[in-house]
Symmetry: C2
Subunit: 351 residues, 2 copies
Amino acid sequence: MAAAAAERERVPFTFSAAGLDHPHIHSMVQGLLDAGAQLMHIYDENPDQANALRAKFQTGQVVQELSAILHSEVDLVATSIVPSKRGALGVQVLEHDKHFLSAKAPFTTMAQLHAAEDAVRRSGKKWAVFYSERLAVEAALLADGIVQEGLIGELFQLTGSGPHRLQAETRPAWFFDPGKNGGILCDIGSHQIEQLLHYARCKDAKVLHSKVANYAHPQYGDWQDFGDATLVTDTGVSQYFRVDWFTPEGLRVWGDGRTVLHGTNGFVELRKYTDVARSAVGDHLYVVTDEEEIYFPAKGKVGIPYFRQLIDDCVLGTETAMSQEHTFRAAALAIQAQEQAISLTKAGERR
Amino acid sequence: MAAAAAERERVPFTFSAAGLDHPHIHSMVQGLLDAGAQLMHIYDENPDQANALRAKFQTGQVVQELSAILHSEVDLVATSIVPSKRGALGVQVLEHDKHFLSAKAPFTTMAQLHAAEDAVRRSGKKWAVFYSERLAVEAALLADGIVQEGLIGELFQLTGSGPHRLQAETRPAWFFDPGKNGGILCDIGSHQIEQLLHYARCKDAKVLHSKVANYAHPQYGDWQDFGDATLVTDTGVSQYFRVDWFTPEGLRVWGDGRTVLHGTNGFVELRKYTDVARSAVGDHLYVVTDEEEIYFPAKGKVGIPYFRQLIDDCVLGTETAMSQEHTFRAAALAIQAQEQAISLTKAGERR
């Protein structure tokens, strides 16, 4: 760490932002800047999107061609381009000897994932994915420590609910195209599966059952407003998660995201972004052990080390932020959950 | 209703308690007494169990033979006998022209259920089941009104968690015998499925996936300490529920039972028996609509009409408390969930 810090001081870690379709790029750029990285270039096919990012952060140079970034000396390229294009962009980036940081979901097909695995093997560069629903949630980081300390006994199940506010009027056309967004399980479900692999400290899992539906948006055809899945890890820990686009207008935040870690001697409930009817601030931990019930407000308690760790990993070749295998396995399982899903509705009509 | 009340005043509704293996019989007797019924006889193979019930309620006559009840004039026989014996007892009761009230789960096999259906057809008597996790929970009754009023839009999913405290030292041997208790999904899972059929106001559903495990109790062999299932109704509403016997010692109540009713314009979360780290009293409702977030403590607000309704149904031939079809369908689906379940563990060893 000290060596990495010294190295960064001498030659700052540099990055460019290319492909800015989803607003997630804003928190990714902010995180990298806060961790000491330097934003060099900004590129998007749509100059308005590039100029907007420049206006917000007041740093980095808007460039007219992706090649200006690919042929530069930047260390990393960050993207939130349309999900179906992330794989191909990443392959280009790695082929130009740069690390790559993708918004989730990183891939919409297994073929894209396999091409990414090949590119990593050839280049030795990192293909990172910002699974923000764990990595940027302090309660989620603290919960990990609680489990690892053995306070809830042996972890045997995760349950997760990931409702999101639709805000249809703010969404571009690609958002409603499953061929471009990958489907609800591949997209917002990928967070959940990443959490399973992480909290259970396992390398692999199996999708046992999954389903999707379009309950209330027939105008968007085969787009999906609901999905769920159940998995089991190679160590026998099971998971159920549900995701939807039905956050009601009356909720003060974008979604009542919850994760419960069920152990043989206790459980931890994370109310990630709000505590309904009590607090519109996030990061609430409710813990029950063999001794007591505990409420712990985690906001501001541990910080978000992800981007600092990622930069160190790029510089040192370590895997502190997240291993490459884990990153890709979570994506693969999300695609499998999507591909195996049964449909409860057909284009908004209940069967 | 007025006619039924007048009838009851003239000739009180009478019942006997026969087969007292599970403590649920206490709340059933209490409920019937509170609703104005008169306890006539108490019977159990084990005289100690019969005497204990007599000592608690100070009413009813302990009898030495079941036949004393069967050949009496009582209107209804209530039981919490070992689950695998409930079906056969009920058939006897109906054949003697009496209504029957069973603790859940009412059956452990489909054959028992079919025999019960035949007995109901032949006798015209009621075969009621006390699904207490909805019928005796005020928050659950209020939530129903919220859904029916349309406050959360169209209901599209139910999720439920039903953890229970094991208290192994208080459990008789039959409790740990899946052949006698029916398995975890058939037993405590039956509550959850009954709730799906009720809240979704549907006649049928399909079990899409279910699983069981014995994660931490190898001493009990193929007994199960965890189970979950996902179903979909014939109207397209889906359900996920999980049940376990892992309530930690530090929780102040027997289980953190939750139900969430997910609608297209809002949701209702029931924290049935506690609000972790906030209240050890039950019946908490958290409601989010398109307008606002609401917390409503439901304890003592609506009461529990079940037993009064059941008595009226017996007297008048109505189906206010619960229809016979619904009662049996919930039981059938719980048995199906159990029979179809994959096992994540083998006798306490993770695979």
